[in-house]
Structure formats: C-alpha cells, structure tokens
Symmetry: C2
Subunit: 367 residues, 2 copies
C-alpha cells in the first residue's frame, strides 16, 4: 500500500460535482483545500457543504497540488494557467478525454518553467445522475476506477502526488498512456453512449401503444440515452478520432446486417445472423464481473413480489437468513398490475438450495 505523498494545500479549480467531491474527500482526511469556480454560486455552495475554503485570488497561495475540474473544452487553458502561476505545484486535470488536452498543452509556447513536468492527466471514472456541487460527496470515488495518464514529460514526483490524490480518495488506480486511455474510453464509454442515443432517438415518433410493449431489454439499452448533451458534445468532440474508428467498424457490421435482412432467406443469411449474435455473446462475456474479477457466470432466479413497501427488504432479509449472498439484483417492471419481479443472481452452487428454501417459505420463484 503506497503511503500518501499528498499533504496539501490543494487548490481545486472548478467546484461542480467532481471538484466539490474531491474537496469533500480531501477535507475528510484533514487536507487543506481551497476552491475556486467561475460561478459565484457554485463556489459558495461548495464552500457551504464543507468542500474547502473560498479561494481569494489576492491571497498568495503555494499549493502542493492544483486539481483542474473544469469542462473539457477549457481544461487545457486552465491547466496552463495553473502551471504558470503556481511554479512549484503539481497540476492534474480530471477530464474524460486525455489526448486532446495533452495536445493542446504541448502546442503552447511556454508553460511556467519546467511546465509539463508538473502536469499529470487523470480521469476519475465516477459520476452521478445529478450534477453540481449540491450533489457532491467525498465518497464518490470509493472503489471506482481512477486512471492516471503520466506523460513523457511528467516527473516521478508529480506522478506520486497524482497517485496519492486518487489513493486518498479510495479509488482504484489504473495507469494508461493518454492514447490508450482515449481508445479504452471510446470503446467502453463513448460507444455505448452513442449507440444508446441512436436506439432511443428511433422512439421519438413511435405510437404510444407500441411503447407499451417495452420491456427491460429496451430500458437497459437506452438507459444512458438520458445523459446530458452539453457535456457529451464536448467529450465526443474531443475524442472524435478514437470513436470514429470504432463507429466505422460498427457501420461495417451494420451494413452486413442490413444486407442480410434484405434477403433473409438467401443462402448464408441465417449464418450471418447467427454470427452477429455469437460475436455479441463472446464480447459480452469478456466484461469483467463484480469488483473487477473475471467475468463470472452467476445463476439467476426471479421472485415475484407485491409492489408494497418493505417487500423487497423482506425478501432480502429472508435470503440473508437462508445464508446466501446476493451477487447482483435487478428489478423488472411489469405492465399494469401491482406486482414486480426481483431478479437475483447467486453463486451457481447456492442456487438450488435458495430456490427450494424460498419456495418453502411461500415466495413465488421463477427460474
């Protein structure tokens, strides 16, 4: 376990959800935090919730670390300004894209003396449906991935401080180059985002009765289509080259599918469809299971519950009494009547016993 190299003070530039959460997390460890945000109200709220002290530009401050928590569009400029102003500070950013920001910085003429040696790009992969400082929490990063992207310029000391920030906030640290990071998030984050939006946009003119048949499949695929356009436009724009490559591959597969659907009884059509499905099976099974472990095959069962308060709690309490750990849990929303389905996954070796025991206790178990 690496000891922390972060002693403070830390200056957080941008006190939205992430910046304020970083402030709260560091304050909980007794580290001195100063906050600044272009919006006076965002700054005031962050100060009010205890994320740090208001930064007064007139004060002379020599932070050990500056965290730039600004939107991707302006991040490079704010990083450059911080490297210039705070000549002994390590400066990190937390934007969702790394290559574009690094390219902007490298294109700048002067970066405060030893400039880029004091910069480390990072990306904490945490976030909530709500935004803004009022939603901030110090535990936001607990056990979530935090990617560090040291550049060829970054000094060992700067990397240690950046690493300490993530560790102090109880994140799980990954190290990638900026390019590797951008390729990875293009695939695991940006691709599903645009595909969810492409599916959801098809529903705009759907007649209401057709939508009544929507099940959890559609809901799952389109869940993240509710994301905030303003932020995503910046992310997709900044990571366009990496995402473009992936979308071209998708288009190629889509062309193949469209050809097949145009002549579904032609020789080989069935095989084409089976191949798409099988490739989907193969890719999906590679996604890591719980807590980053190997893709684990858990066993599923479903239990019908009345839609009254306390029913799910009662079910889980009884499962606890039976002594089986619930590995994953989902609710399946039904149409019309006031029942719901709780889908549970457990270790395969525990499944039969659980089904038998729950059934004996009067629960309606579907397998």
């Amino acid at each position: 376990m690496n000891p922390s190299h972060l002693s403070g003070p830390v200056l957080v530039l941008g006190s939205g959800l992430l910046g304020a959460s970083i402030g709260l997390g560091l304050r909980a460890r007794g580290i001195e935090v100063f906050l600044s945000d272009p919006s006076p109200s965002a700054q005031a709220v962050a100060v009010d919730i205890g994320a740090g002290r208001a930064f007064d530009p007139a004060q002379s401050l020599s932070p050990q670390l500056v965290v730039v928590a600004a939107p991707p569009d302006v991040t490079a400029g704010v990083v450059a300004g911080a490297l210039e102003r705070y000549r002994s500070a390590v400066v990190v950013d937390i934007a969702s894209v790394k290559g574009a920001i690094l390219a902007e910085l490298e294109a700048m003429d002067s970066l405060g003396g030893d400039g880029l040696s004091r910069y480390v790009g990072t990306h904490p992969m945490a976030g909530r449906e709500r935004s803004g400082p009022v939603a901030a929490r110090g535990e936001l990063f607990n056990s979530m991935p935090w990617v560090l992207c040291p550049t060829q310029h970054s000094s060992a000391q700067a990397v240690k401080v950046a690493h300490s920030l993530a560790i102090d906030l109880e994140a799980v640290v990954f190290r990638f180059s900026a390019a590797e990071h951008d390729a990875a998030v293009a695939l695991v984050s940006h691709l599903p985002q645009v595909m969810a939006s492409l599916v959801a946009s098809r529903l705009q003119d759907t007649p209401g009765p057709a939508l009544s048949l929507a099940g959890n499949g559609l809901r799952d695929v389109t869940r993240i289509a509710a994301s905030d356009p303003a932020l995503w436009v910046q992310i997709l724009g900044a990571n366009a080259p990496k995402l473009l490559e992936i979308m071209q591959g998708v288009r190629s597969d889509l062309d193949r599918l469209i050809n097949t659907l145009s002549a579904p009884t032609a020789p080989g059509a069935r095989l084409d469809l089976a191949q798409l499905m099988a490739e989907g099976n193969a890719g999906q099974s590679r996604i890591p299971g719980k807590h980053g472990g190997p893709a684990q095959q858990y066993s599923w069962l479903s239990v019908l519950v009345d839609d009254r308060p306390g029913q799910i709690a009662l079910l889980l309490t009884e499962i606890g009494e039976i002594g089986v750990n619930v590995e994953d849990l989902r609710l399946d929303h039904s149409a019309g009547l006031q029942v719901g389905m709780v889908e549970l996954s457990v270790l395969p070796s525990r499944r039969v016993a659980l089904v038998n025991e729950l059934t004996a206790r009067g629960w309606k178990v579907l397998q």
Copy 2:
C-alpha cells in the same frame, strides 16, 4: 373484468419454457391440460413438473383450445396441422413474430374446414434467461404483456377463447394487428437486441486492461447481447422486413455521426452531436414508467454498502422503517474493493427526507 371463456381441455404442442409454463398456469386454475413435444425428455419433464398429462396421439381428444408453443420456423406448420386435426378447437400460437406465420398459413390450400376462423395469433412477452421446461413456472406471465393479433378471418368466439387464455394466466392483454405487432416488436425488442450485439461484438478483441474501465453504462447496453443465437436467428429472419426499415434509419443516423466525427471542429459539428444526444433524450423519456404508467421522473440516490451478506437487506429494511417506497433499484459494481453501490429511485417528494434520515442513521449516501 371479462369472465373466462376457457374451460378446457387444452392441448399444448411444445413443452419448452413457455409451453410448460402455460400448462402449469392452467393446471393451477383446474383446467385439464395435455402436453406434447417432439423431444420425449422435454415432454417427460413437463409432465413431471405438473404442467399436464402426456398426450397420446392414439387417444381421441377434442380440445377446446390448442396452444402451439413451437419455434417460429415450424409454428405455421404445426398450427395448420392442429386446425386440420381438431375441427372444433381454437388454435393459437405464441411466437414472437406474427406476420410471417399468418402469411404462411394464408398461403396454404386447405386448413380444416373453417380453418383460419379458428386461429388467433398471439405473443406473450415473457421469458427468462433459462430455457426448457425445468425453468417453467405458472406465474411466468403475471402482469406481463400478452399481445393478441386476431386476423380478418378470426371468429369472435376464437378471439374470446384466446383472450381468456391470456387473462387466466394473469397477463395484460394488448390487441394489435399482425403488422402493427411486428412493427412494434421490431422497435422495442429486435432493435435493442441487434444494437446490443453490435456493441458487444466490438469487445471481442479489446485488451483486458481497457475492459477494466467498464462501468454500468456498457453493462446496461450489452446486457441482452447474451441472448440465445438459435432463437434470435429465427426471430430476426421472420421479422426482417420490419427490422430492415428501422436499421436503415439507424444507418442514416450513424452515417451522419461518422461524418461529424470525421470533422469534429467543422461548423455545425457541435450542433450535430447535440442533436443526436437531444433526440436520444427525447426518445428515452417516452418509454413508459413503472407498471405501464406515464414515463415517471423518479429521483435517484446512491448508498454505499459493504459487500457482505445482509447489507442490502438491512438498508432496504431501514428504508421501509423510514416509510419510503423504493420505486427502482440497481446495483453498481465497483472495481477492486469490497464495497458496492445501491442506486435507488424514489418519488421526488420523498427524496430529501430519505437522504437526511439515512445519513442520520450512518449510511453513506451519494446524491
């Protein structure tokens, strides 16, 4: 509430998951059920679990209703055979596509006298991860949609019997024409299926470290990519024309996106991306909320729990004590450390009180 017009006996042809579940549900209502399946073991298992009695082809049986629960490829043939053999029976099928089956039937020369007047296409939209009769449950259809697709040929009496089947199994009945049904499921079921598979297939060659960054967005979008290829090849093939139209629309949007990503700083590029995201927002918000009601905006909060048995149960029990109903619940799997995040949605009016009360009780609440 319509009284049931179903008195039996019912002959179920095909005793896989759906056929056996239908048998179990009808037996629970005291209706006499006979089962037949080309696979002797599938038939034996279904009989063993109480889904009905083994049908002996030598016996003379005059069923009130024949339920064809066969794969889509062979359904029309089995329906035709049943209409021919059981001259006073209503015959329904339960396949996921309706138009192709009806077209096959209409193309046949003779269909047992008054033939198609005794046929009603139906589609119960229920199902589980597991298949086969061993997974069957009589409650499988409770509060799930069951679509009836009476044809221009169907008699009123046949429709009443088909309707009774769905009602007796406690489903929620929808009426669509075969064409409306196929268009609807193409959109709400087949489109998300192929898009999930298209995304997941991109992951086949991804380096492991990149996949470590996978979050719930990717998991949600690719969840149904684990579906069974053999069945889906038949469904997609049979509904190809309706799905083709939709996929051509998706390709058009994808082309637009690829153009934009190729020149992300060109004038209008940002607007294009914003429009895709906004259209996704708009479509997603039209999906009905819980129990088929209007798309409800619930409020979300997340609570950190230790990954030990009983923790989620304890949390939900306390929420029950606080007196707030949990409208939806998801687990967020973290990387590395042994904590998990429980995401809950509640009525907006109850959220603040719940957050305050949980925090007071020592829970770590993220907003």
